[in-house]
């Protein structure tokens, strides 16, 4: 059963098309992610699905309700965690939750029980009477997740859920999100531009410039690249480029690096190094990452800055099991 169905959803701001006739479905119980660089159209899409922005064209159904016609029913079916914090800093955690519960029509008799349930889920039950102003960024995000759940929505929307959080907090937050999926079979729709975060998803839609350029499981997307990625770095990049072209080796150039797709990196690499006459500074080989997938599809990289990206990949690879 599909919790979300999107058909040719489009959003234009004047002449600019932010979201260009995208279509996809999200099945019950899956974690579905939109992966793409900043400005790709992720937040615009999620805002349309959450009825905060009317679509220019196309349709979308959440829980079988239309986002253009059945606004209140759609809203009741969604738990939304925004990219920017949206808690009331002057209220306590409890008060924030009660406010939400009332607006969403949670029965009065259920308040206490549900508040305890969601707060315990994110380990904030002890801090429920504290004013939110004193919470850390990670705690606030956890409270927002708890808040998004209190009315038992059909799907949880997470717009860049770990943006602005340090790597440890990010990992911790994902523990809670995955717990939700395991224990509550929660359907989750999220957007991110962090590749290692996208690895947690059951399926990913890669979005660039308002269009979906690929849609599949992370494993399949990487497998589609067919093999390993060999990266060659050289300061003599002009000559390097000429030589690679002469050798009829296909590559994608990124600054001073040349990314080469190959079936068996271990055997290809020594052959390449023997053949190359131009001197190179560095060579590395790795299994394809989602960034490689994105690069291959669009010719550009998702990464923000190289340094922080490496940090995140280290944090991601060290202890986390990927789904």
């Amino acid at each position: 059963m599909n919790i979300i169905e999107v058909k040719n959803l489009t959003k234009k701001f004047g002449k600019f098309t932010a979201v260009d006739a995208i279509s996809f479905d999200v099945a019950k119980g899956e974690i579905f992610g939109f992966l793409g660089p900043n400005g790709a159209g992720k937040t615009t899409t999620i805002n349309m699905l959450a009825t905060l922005l009317p679509p220019t064209a196309g349709e979308a159904f959440i829980n079988n309700f239309s986002v253009t016609r059945d606004l209140d029913e759609v809203r009741r079916s969604i738990g939304m965690v925004f990219q920017d914090p949206s808690l009331d800093d002057k209220l306590t955690a409890e008060e924030n939750l009660r406010f939400h519960a009332r607006l969403y029509g949670v029965p009065l008799s259920e308040y206490e029980k549900r508040m305890e349930e969601v707060l315990k889920l994110v380990d904030l039950f002890e801090r429920r009477k504290e004013v939110v102003k004193h919470f850390s960024g990670g705690m606030k995000r956890r409270l927002e997740i708890a808040r998004g759940l209190i009315h038992y929505p059909a799907v949880l929307f997470l717009d860049e859920p770990t943006l602005g959080l340090d790597p440890q907090t990010r990992a911790g937050l994902w523990d809670y999100i995955l717990k939700l999926k395991r224990e509550k079979q929660m359907t989750i729709f999220m957007t991110t531009h962090y590749m290692n975060e996208a690895e947690y998803c059951d399926r990913i839609g890669i979005i660039d410039k308002g269009k979906i350029v690929a849609l599949d499981t992370p494993a399949n997307l990487k497998r589609a690249l067919g093999g390993d990625i060999v990266v060659v770095h050289g300061s003599k990049s002009v000559e390097l480029e000429k030589e690679l072209k002469k050798l009829k080796i296909k590559f994608i150039k990124e600054n001073e690096s040349f990314l080469i797709k190959t079936h068996e990196g271990e055997t290809f690499l020594p052959k390449l190094l023997k053949k190359l006459k131009t001197s190179i500074d560095r060579v590395e080989m790795h299994e394809p990452t989602l960034d490689d997938v994105f690069l291959h599809l669009t010719g550009r990289a998702i990464r923000e800055t190289e340094a922080s990206e490496k940090e995140m990949m280290k944090a991601g690879a060290r202890g986390r099991r990927f789904h």
């Binding site: 905060l52 029913e73 809203r75 008060e95 029509g105």
Partner: protein, 260 residues
Amino acid sequence: MKFLITIYTIWQRELIRYWRDKTRIISTFIQPLMFLAIFGLGLQSTLAAGNFGVDYLKFMYPGILAMSVMGVAFFSTISTVWDREFGFLKEILVAPVSRSAIAFGKTLGATTIASIQALLLLVLAPLIGVNLNFTVVIELFGIMLLLSLAISGLGLLIASLMRTTESFGLLMQLLIFPLFFLSGAFFPLTNVPVWMEWISKANPLSYGVDALRQIMLAGEVPAQVLSKLSVFNIPVDVMFLVGFALVMIVAAVAAFRKKA
């Protein structure tokens, strides 16, 4: 029912926020006190010597009450722009609730806070030498409620049209200060240049001040003197305030639904 619960929830949040912000509560008391102390006491002797006819402090007091109502009502609704800028408004807008209910909740919240604040300022009456009895207090409270409603509506209307808090400074200068000072709180509007008369006649605060002053000073000051200082009679004041409040609230709800 859902409509009322929404109004109540939004209303309650406004009150909790007000109550938690102790600095704000204190400062909204300090401003009227400062005006009374500085202008009131400062001009008291000078004006007593002339043909003003009434103790300046007593003259100013109702005006200061009205000013306090305006300040609090405005600030409470303008804070919607803060909500927008700091994200909480999104949380309200993504909820399955009526936009009109949200607008009413905010307006009523601001009205409640402004009225109670002004009511509390009445404790100064004995210090100023004004005698109050129960009926007078009720009548005064009625005017305060009306004025709060009117200003809250205006505030919400403006807040719905404002995108950021940056324009707030300009708003203070161009709107709030003129409304404050051309309301009859500081000097009678019965003998002023024509342009001032026109502005003050469009200013809801003038009607509030006018009504409050007439109710409060009815027993304190000779009727002739009082009528020379007053612009309209009380029923006219009340009618204007009711009309203004209705128009503002309707416009505010409409703007909120469209813009938010």
